[in-house]
């Protein structure tokens, strides 16, 4: 009896703890000592640094290799060509040891899923056994958006759990209300598509048939779905095998030590980098982006969602002299009835991704950085919603717009320390997303999501222009892919792919430019498409006088008559929409129904063959005053198609003249006087800050602002009392001045009544941040 009882309580983790006991012990020790898992000393690393490095290097190479190999199984260009996949190795507690490249934000999100299984006792039901396979895409427990599908496999050694491996791919469709992985029409998660919560989908390394049948009919693009899953499973199994080999060679004791010491090592690595690269103090910045839903072309099911709002993300970074730091997002606006909300884990993991691109681009990137960072995300904000109805399908709309501010904050610090090359004026708003679906050229049900915007312009540094059409904040290895591959995946032929002039922000060093693709609908049936981007607000600003990148816009043309025009040999739209303020294409298709405006978010519109769709990719913001830019660089930009001629004069103050070989050269004298004139005009326009503030204060008192702006501040005040106090103090507002959502002429459902996931029976959510 005694023996039986003992067997019953023995947990699956190596040494006999249950997963929950194991994690609790680690977290307790972390809290108490401020060192991960209480590791004030790193035994393996200190006693045998060579072995430690060997383990690291072998495991990391294996994880990277598994990603490179397995992605060739996929059919989806998003995975195969854009590299939207990632594999990560975890210790038993679900903390990441090391990761491949790719969409590394999921280092955190898959870890959150593992932790959810731990906290909710998956160990006893549905049980966790060797060779099990789990699947998760639940955004309420940490995923970024439902289209990122996780495959999670436990790793056992001699019958005991010693870790986990997770693989993630961005699938092209999750069966949401509209086609495409990041669809826009739904306003609650019930419309977001298939949602899977850490479900056991296979055992003995084999997927369950019920899972295969069910999951395939839950999505539109079954072939992509199936091969993506095989990609993830194959990659996880390769890594599991690698771990087994490493243990066979170096011993389980060493591996076990390594699995925890490496996390502490990562934490220390971050701390040291912060010490080396930044200046202690407080850094404040803010991000905004538009949600223009009060428009005919945004068709949502509920009237209360049909409002124009603005996302607000003020942030304060506090860097302490010992290299620890804290990020506080007090004052952020509330979650909303749209698909741009984010879970706290995706928000914080994403910031970590951003940091790996500038602050900690070392090989030692793992969950240590998460343990080295304190976050405060007020509950109820869009980055930490308190309602289980919220939708997530394109949380990136808010995420990229909020994070770009952090680049500016950190860059000021790098600049102060003299790391001029590390300065980055901010990430581009990674859009537009061309999405849609219907029947494709193979006469199959289809959905598309062009990932061309994995190659946007990069923010300028303090010594050079940002590079063009090159990167996305969510995947440092950006790529736009080959047109011939996109044409296999989409019933849309290219009529243009061109660098987008003036899309990068101006500056002494300009932001990298994005590009644009003009697509002709071809061989599509019952087809729809929509836009997803930022049109009214430029979310990435530029620093030290640098200009923001251009915001996006939409161009679509229906009933173009292009079939006849082509047959007659007439001129047709080709290449880029060079200067949207002086459009040329409309004249070529005079009978067409054209939509050209700043409504960069739409829902499914019907398209047919010979209709046109312009997909524009953003540029990055600039650094420094454009008047300080080397005039010849401005001439080169105009000659090279990176800058519209008219902005050479108006923004850069550079006068150009015809030079040899038909190109433009600098008119030195003209430039000198033009720049002097602009400087004079600036002085003439400027007013003392005090005067300006007095005027603005009057406007605030009179509530002389758009309803969207008022709603945004009202929501921020409600969730961020300290933010409100600061605001009042700064503007010296009287006690009786109140800004309340209830007083505004638009609905604000969700303002008073919310119900969090944690309120469901038998659910223990894991809290990762201060709320």
């Amino acid at each position: 009896m005694n023996i039986q009882a003992k067997t019953k309580t023995r947990g699956i983790v190596r040494g006999g703890e249950t997963l929950k006991q194991h994690r609790d012990r680690l977290m307790e020790a972390t809290k108490k000592t401020k060192h991960y898992a209480g590791l004030t000393k790193m035994e393996l690393r200190d006693s045998d640094p060579i072995k430690y490095n060997k383990l690291f290097s072998r495991l990391r190479a294996g994880v990277v290799d598994a990603r490179e190999t397995s992605k060739k199984i996929a059919a989806s260009p998003i995975v195969e060509q854009e590299g939207e996949l990632c594999f990560t190795l975890y210790n038993a507690a679900g903390d990441a040891i090391l990761t491949s490249t790719g969409i590394i934000i999921h280092v955190g999100t898959m870890g959150a899923a593992i932790k959810y299984m731990i906290e909710n006792d998956w160990e006893s039901n549905p049980t966790i056994r060797d060779k099990d396979i789990f699947c998760n895409n639940d955004s309420l427990i940490g995923n970024v958006h439902p289209c990122d599908i996780h495959t999670i496999v436990p790793i056992f050694h001699e019958g005991e759990l010693i870790g986990w491996v997770g693989g993630v791919t961005h699938v092209i469709d999750t069966g949401s209300v509209g086609p495409g992985s990041m669809s826009t029409g739904q306003i609650q998660r019930f419309g977001d598509g298939y949602s899977i919560t850490c479900r056991k989908i296979g055992e003995n390394d084999t997927l369950y048939r019920d899972w295969l049948h069910e999951s395939q009919r839950m999505v539109r693009t079954t072939r992509y779905w199936m091969l993506d899953e095989r990609t993830r499973v194959a990659g996880c199994h390769m890594i599991r095998k690698l771990v087994e080999e490493v243990i066979a060679e170096d011993g389980i004791e060493n591996y076990w030590k390594f699995a925890y010491e490496s996390v502490e090592h990562g934490r220390l690595g971050l701390q040291n980098r912060i010490k080396a690269m930044t200046i202690p103090g407080k850094y404040r910045q803010v991000g905004f982006v538009d949600v223009p839903y009060d428009h005919d072309d945004v068709r949502v099911p509920s009237d209360f969602a049909k409002v124009d709002t603005i996302m607000h993300a003020p942030s304060e970074i506090t860097i302490r002299p010992d290299g620890t730091w804290r990020l506080d997002f007090e004052g952020s606006s509330r979650w909303g009835w749209h698909t741009y909300n984010a879970h706290q884990v995706s928000f914080t993991s994403g910031i970590w991704v951003m940091m790996t691109q500038s602050l900690i681009p070392s090989e030692m990137i793992n969950d240590g950085a998460a343990y080295g960072t304190e976050f405060r995300l007020p509950k109820g904000t869009w980055m930490n919603p308190d309602d289980r109805r919220v939708a997530f399908s394109y949380s990136w709309h808010f995420l990229v717009s909020a994070w770009t501010a952090l680049w500016r904050g950190l860059s000021r610090s790098y600049f102060g320390r003299g790391y001029l090359e590390e300065v980055n004026a901010g990430n581009a708003n990674t859009s537009n997303w061309l999405q849609g679906g219907g029947f494709n050229q193979y006469d199959e049900i289809h959905a598309v999501n062009s990932f061309e915007c994995a190659a946007n312009g990069v923010g300028a540094s303090a010594v050079a222009d940002g590079i063009s059409h090159a990167a996305a904040v969510w995947n440092p290895e950006g790529d736009m892919g080959d047109m011939e591959i996109w044409e296999l995946a989409e019933p849309l032929v290219y009529l243009g792919r061109q660098i987008k002039a003036s899309s990068g922000g101006a500056g002494r060093f300009r932001g990298g430019c994005g590009f644009e693709s003009l697509r002709l609908v071809w061989n599509a049936k019952d087809w729809t498409m929509f836009f997803m981007g930022n049109g009214h607000i430029s979310s990435d600003w530029g620093i030290m006088g640098g200009y923001p990148a251009a915001s996006g816009y939409r161009f679509e043309a229906h009933d173009t008559n292009l079939k006849e025009i082509i047959a007659k040999g007439g001129e047709i739209p080709l290449g880029g929409d060079v200067d949207p303020e002086h459009p040329l294409w409309e004249a070529l298709i005079p009978d067409a129904r054209v939509k050209r405006d700043k409504q960069a978010i739409t829902t499914e519109a019907m398209f047919k063959d010979y209709d046109l769709y312009l997909n524009t990719m953003s540029g990055g913001p600039g650094f420094g005053d454009p008047l300080d830019r080397e005039p010849q660089s401005v001439a080169d930009d105009v000659n090279g198609g990176y800058l519209l001629h008219r902005f050479a004069e108006s923004v850069y103050g550079v006068a150009l003249k015809k030079a040899a070989d038909g190109l433009l050269g600098v008119d030195e004298a003209g430039t000198k006087s033009l720049r002097a004139k602009i400087r004079k005009e600036r002085l003439a326009e400027s007013v003392p800050t005090k005067e300006w503030m007095a005027k603005e204060r009057q406007k605030i008192l009179a509530k002389d602002a758009g309803v969207q702006v008022q709603q945004m501040f009202a929501a921020s005040f409600k969730l961020g009392p300290r933010f409100e106090q600061d605001f009042r103090k700064f503007w010296d507002l009287p006690e009786d001045w109140k800004l309340l959502e209830a007083d505004l002429p638009i609905p604000s459902y969700g303002r008073e009544y919310t119900m969090d996931l944690s309120e469901l029976p038998d659910v223990k959510t894991v809290q990762f941040v201060e709320e």
Binding site: P49, K54, A61, G62, K72, A74, G266, N272, Y494, L518
Partner: protein, 716 residues
């Protein structure tokens, strides 16, 4: 081997013209060979070649004129074309693409902004950069036309736009014109018509400008790869052709009668007159692989792991069942390409790699940059301040500081010791020997893991492979990167340093052509469909066969002299990556034939990825047909000498040197490599030295020299 002899007839010449040294490899009618070395002369490669030849032939006591008149075959490999591309010193080329897409070449693929980067830099955005495009935007023109992915015309070609483009480019005095239109691999009508129009315009202009249509060269999907590769033909291959012509002439002036062939990326050699010369962009490292393959064929090794360490990199290639693995969309010089390349993986870690500690994490970082020919801190005149792998070698007694490159460079152990202490040992709290040995161990283990993952990535285990180790620094590390992997055998050829040139001399005359196909069939497709698919594939093979035979005809070979081997590329329907499969049947016609092709594919797929990744329910696509044609040529004879005593002659002993490994200093016995004779058996710790390489046999290992002058290394 290398003694003067009357009546020696030299038959084969292999050349490896590297960045610093030019190696020549001569083979006589008995299969004996000799290696010559000289400094490279990039301005006029012929000079270095002649000097190297004189050096090699001098060892045989021969004059260059006497030797050259007899030679039937000369194979060249070198880095000149690659350097021309890297340094952007090619010709001024005009590019014609689809109107509206004129930017795509200069936009590149964003992947080109971080190709070849280490992990840390791949994720470090501010380090990414683009190289200058091969063709500037101002030399790019667009023609109005569109063809879709099925090959259907969407917009008919507007010929006047082609004519205008041609005239403008001709007026700009371009030295070549490349044409690449979307989906031309599928339907080449428009692209060919544009080509003909451009040719007419060139003719009318009275100028002599070569024209390159992508469909005539690399008709495969992915426009960036295809366009880059076709541009290389115009940009870099044409000047190389001139170089080769010059070399050919220089040799003819010295009495030769043969035409040079060049080692190509697909692993065969092609004539310098061949149309697709861009595929000779890398050739030196390929030579080593071919040499290993040839040795394997002669000696009966069918699975070989080829490993080559030089100053800057570790290159690994696999030969399975006597076949090379071919990669079809490789990258080279930070360009994505579409030419068949012997799959060779490189780690940026070689003897010259720098050793650094990450200042924040204390992680040990090897490379990726390297001191190259400057060796390390141990060479006082080098100006190098950061310690390198070679410094560790010197500290630990692996290398003879007084006999580096035959004594040309004197190394200072004390200097290396001090630097190692300050930069690595002290910060890690280790002694200098521990730190240096630790770094070597780390490098060895990186290389070993790499070798292992490459083999297991193909679905094999090392126990079914023989590992060949060569290159200047290969034999120093052979024991380290093979230890514990359980290779069937580990072999170090006595001529390891000249192995690439040897490979060139051993290479077949081989042409290979590829064609994109799009055959789709369900898993349970009816027999008539399968038969039709077989027929389509067969038609493609026939077309490619004709092209292969044409190339041989230029060089005077008749069809019956050419051995043909068809292949195909297959994937599960809807996938984006295919696998190259050597056809198990010489021709295809029936449903049964089709099933055989499918079976070969399924086998390979399960091995490369995982059995669970097989997806036959999706059906199959054949995406490409391949035809290889080979003509055998006289090859170096692998020496075969009688085995003698196990004990090396006294004269081979060079004394002892202190050697550190596994925490202790021991006395290693030194040997002179050239003085060892077949049958000699040497137990570690021992170091076998020659001018160009050092073979380390630590304690716990032994080696014996067989009758083919191959050292076999094994753990005892």
């Amino acid at each position: 081997m290398d003694t003067a002899r009357q009546g020696r007839r030299v038959q084969v010449l292999g050349i490896d013209a590297g960045g610093t040294m030019t190696d020549t490899f001569f083979v006589d009618s008995d299969g004996d060979f000799v290696v010559g070395k000289a400094q490279s002369t990039p301005q006029n490669e012929a000079l270095g070649l002649i000097a190297s030849s004189k050096d090699g032939l001098g060892a045989w006591g021969m004059k260059i004129e006497d030797a050259l008149s007899e030679i039937q075959t000369g194979v060249y490999s070198g880095t000149a074309m690659l350097n021309r591309v890297v340094q952007r010193k090619g010709l001024s080329v005009g590019l014609i693409v689809n109107a509206g897409m004129e930017d795509f070449h200069r936009m590149g693929r964003a992947i080109q902004a971080y190709l070849g980067f280490a992990y840390e830099d791949r994720i470090h955005l501010n380090t990414h950069y683009y190289d200058e495009p091969l063709v500037p935007r101002r030399l790019t023109r667009g023609v109005v036309e569109r063809v879709d992915m099925f090959g259907t015309v969407v917009i008919p070609l507007r010929e006047e736009t082609a004519r205008k483009s041609a005239r403008e480019l001709i007026a700009l005095d371009v030295e070549g014109i490349v044409i690449s239109l979307l989906h031309s691999y599928k339907n080449s009508d428009h692209e060919r018509r544009v080509r003909d129009i451009v040719l007419e315009e060139v003719k009318a202009s009275g100028k002599d400008i070569p024209v390159f249509a992508s469909t005539d060269y690399y008709p495969v999907r992915k426009e960036t790869h295809r366009t880059n590769t076709t541009i290389l033909e115009a940009y870099a291959a044409e000047p190389s052709r001139q170089t080769l012509k010059k070399i050919s002439s220089a040799f003819k002036e010295n009495g030769s009668k043969f035409d040079f062939r060049v080692m190509a990326t697909h692993g065969g050699t092609i004539s310098w007159k061949a149309k697709e010369l861009a595929r000779t962009i890398v050739s030196g490292p390929i030579g080593g692989v071919i040499g290993a393959k040839y040795l394997g064929e002669v000696l009966g090794y069918s699975n070989i792991a080829c490993s080559d360490i030089g100053g800057t990199s570790f290159d690994v290639a696999l030969i399975t069942q006597n076949e090379l693995t071919i990669k079809n969309d490789p990258d080279m010089a930070r360009l994505v390409l579409s030419l068949p390349l012997v799959a060779m993986d490189s780690v940026g870690a070689g003897a010259g790699s720098y050793i650094r500690l990450d200042p924040y994490t204390k992680a040990i970082k090897l490379g990726p940059d390297s001191a190259g020919y400057r060796v390390g801190v141990c060479w006082a005149d080098s100006g190098v301040e950061t310690v390198t792998i070679s410094d560790c070698h010197v500290i630990l007694g692996y290398l003879n500081p007084d006999n580096f490159l035959g004594g040309q460079v004197k190394l200072d152990r004390e200097r290396a010791w001090k630097a190692m202490k300050e930069q690595v040992a002290d910060p890690l709290g280790l002694s200098v020997e521990e730190a240096a040995a630790g770094v070597i161990q780390l490098l060895d283990s990186d290389l070993r893991d790499y070798l292992r993952s490459m083999i297991s990535g193909k679905g094999y285990s090392p126990s079914s492979f023989v590992c060949f180790s060569y290159g200047g620094a290969g034999p120093v590390h052979t024991y380290g990167y093979t230890e514990g992997l359980g290779f069937q055998d580990v072999i170090v050829p006595a001529w390891a340093a000249g192995f690439s040139a040897f490979g060139c001399a051993a290479a077949d005359f081989e042409y290979r052509y590829d064609k994109s196909l799009d055959i789709n069939i369900a898993v349970d497709g009816p027999d008539d469909q399968k038969a039709a698919s077989s027929k389509t594939l067969q038609e493609a093979w026939a077309e490619l066969q004709e092209r292969v035979l044409e190339e041989f005809a230029i060089n005077g070979y008749k069809p019956e002299q050419v051995k043909l081997q068809p292949g195909f590329r297959m994937q599960y329907r809807g996938q984006l990556n295919d696998l190259e499969i050597e056809s198990p049947i010489p021709s295809a016609a029936t449903a049964e034939d089709w099933d055989k092709l499918v079976e070969a594919f399924n086998d390979t797929y399960g091995r490369v990825y995982a059995a669970s990744a097989r997806s036959p329910e999706l059906g199959y696509s054949v995406t490409g047909a391949i035809m290889r044609g080979m003509v055998p040529i006289p090859k170096p004879k692998i020496p075969k000498e009688e085995l003698g005593s196990e004990t090396p002659a006294e004269s081979a002993r060079l004394g002892t040197r202190k050697f550190y490994r596994k925490g202790e200093w021991v006395d290693a016995q030194l040997y002179h490599m050239e003085s060892l004779t077949p049958g000699n058996r040497i137990t570690g710790p021992a170091i076998i030295e020659s001018d160009a390489t050092t073979f380390v046999v630590p304690g716990g290992f032994e080696t014996w020299l067989d009758g083919h002058r191959l050292f076999h290394l094994k753990e005892v």
